[in-house]
Symmetry: C2
Subunit: 251 residues, 2 copies
């Protein structure tokens, strides 16, 4: 059904001219400014939050933006995203993943600008750093409205939030939102808040223990006004070795 099956690696028999000067080729094409935008999620007070900065653009006065920057010359975009995180939070040991590129021609009022969205997860130990000045603010994701943010950043945020929800079902990356030691209640609160569902406590515990990557630290919560729960730590090596796949949480 497919034609031309056997043509692999035959000599070129073409009337096209071969391009000798690739630099000239690249020079001849249109160029676009590129930004990276980091959707930095945090979890606190049983709510998923996103770190936004006051827009410094006059027409977006009073609105908030994702943390982003133009990509430097010859800078890989992953590096640019890490740079933004480092500049804003002082941290570079954070979870970061590329999510999607946004390219609507009119998404930026100053002309065409492409942006590549990155999703990043900070835990509350990172929050304790003095990264917050008057320009930065943790916003509750669920209540943030389109009118509150600049550009198409609500759309980007929504895309990243949907990405996070889906990704949480196949990979325990949500643990990056918790401190190193955490209780099972904190873990369950995290899943319930992000997935926006109610989970059964016994089944939740059973499922996580069966996956066998929670290490009992022997310690207990001490900042809590009721019976303290055990604190666990996530064993990343055990997780990687575990052939049992993360089948999704659907209690």
């Amino acid at each position: 059904m497919f034609e031309n099956e056997t043509a692999l690696q035959q000599p070129v028999a073409s009337d096209r001219a071969l391009i000798k000067d690739v630099h000239e080729l690249v020079e001849s094409y249109p160029r676009v400014p590129i930004t990276v935008d980091c959707v930095i999620f945090g979890f606190d007070n049983n709510e998923l939050k996103v770190l936004l900065i006051r827009s410094d653009i006059e027409m977006y006065h009073g609105k908030w933006s994702l943390l982003g920057d133009f990509a430097h010359d010859h800078e890989e975009l992953d590096d640019a995203a890490y740079r933004v995180l480092r500049e804003r939070t002082g941290m570079d040991d954070v979870y970061l993943e590329q999510v999607r590129t946004f390219s609507k021609p009119n998404r930026h009022p100053g002309g065409r600008v492409l942006t590549v969205a990155y999703c990043s997860l900070l835990n509350s130990e990172h929050h304790d750093l003095k990264i917050l000045d008057n320009e930065l603010h943790w916003h509750v994701v669920k209540t943030l409205r389109s009118e509150d943010v600049a550009f198409d950043h609500k759309e980007i945020l929504d895309t990243c939030y949907a990405w996070l929800q889906k990704r949480m079902l196949e990979h325990p990356l949500g643990l990056n939102l918790l401190p190193e030691k955490f209780s099972l209640r904190e873990l369950q609160n995290l899943y319930e808040a992000i997935l926006d569902i109610k989970l059964d406590r016994r089944n939740f515990r059973k499922k996580f223990f069966s996956m066998d990557f929670l290490i009992d630290t022997g310690e207990y919560e001490d900042d809590v006004h009721h019976r303290p729960g055990k604190l666990y730590r996530f064993d990343f090596d055990k997780y990687k070795l575990n052939k049992k796949r993360w089948t999704g949480i659907e209690f």
Copy 2:
């Protein structure tokens, strides 16, 4: 734990200068040429294939490229990807999805070029179009080697293939690779080839019938040298209505 909780929508109390001229801002930043690259998958002869074109760049003489092009001014990248497909195949009713942006600074020998990879699925009815000249060739995905292709296109292909494998487990998009009417054997062959696993025939049929979006056309295969199987059609509306999620194929 998070500071600054209540600052939402308060007046800006900042010493930053507000940016008035967004055009000037955008003008001041570095620009990068952008391409889209389409990873066009087809399925034939029980093998997953990818459509490649002979490179017209002298230093890649004899190598193959993904079908791509520079993005036009003010062209959304999805549109650019559809344009590439239309120009190459004459089709625009095909499955297309953005997969990932590739940005290694040296990925293009002519200087920095970003590329946004799109994954596209053509079925054998599209293949029958006379889209194939001497420049185009369907390559078997499993046997394609890095040395056969130009740029970082093997890496892009690998990423898209992994994306396809994963996506097939959560969405029946693989049906886009089959003609409108298909037999269950063809469907199973598709899944076995793409996921690179062996499936139990009875369980496979049971699973698909239970999902209740295959319509019996009443027709039978007629191009086959054995007992012909029934032909089915995919009911996309029923699929969308079906609350039963696509739980993955793991027979």
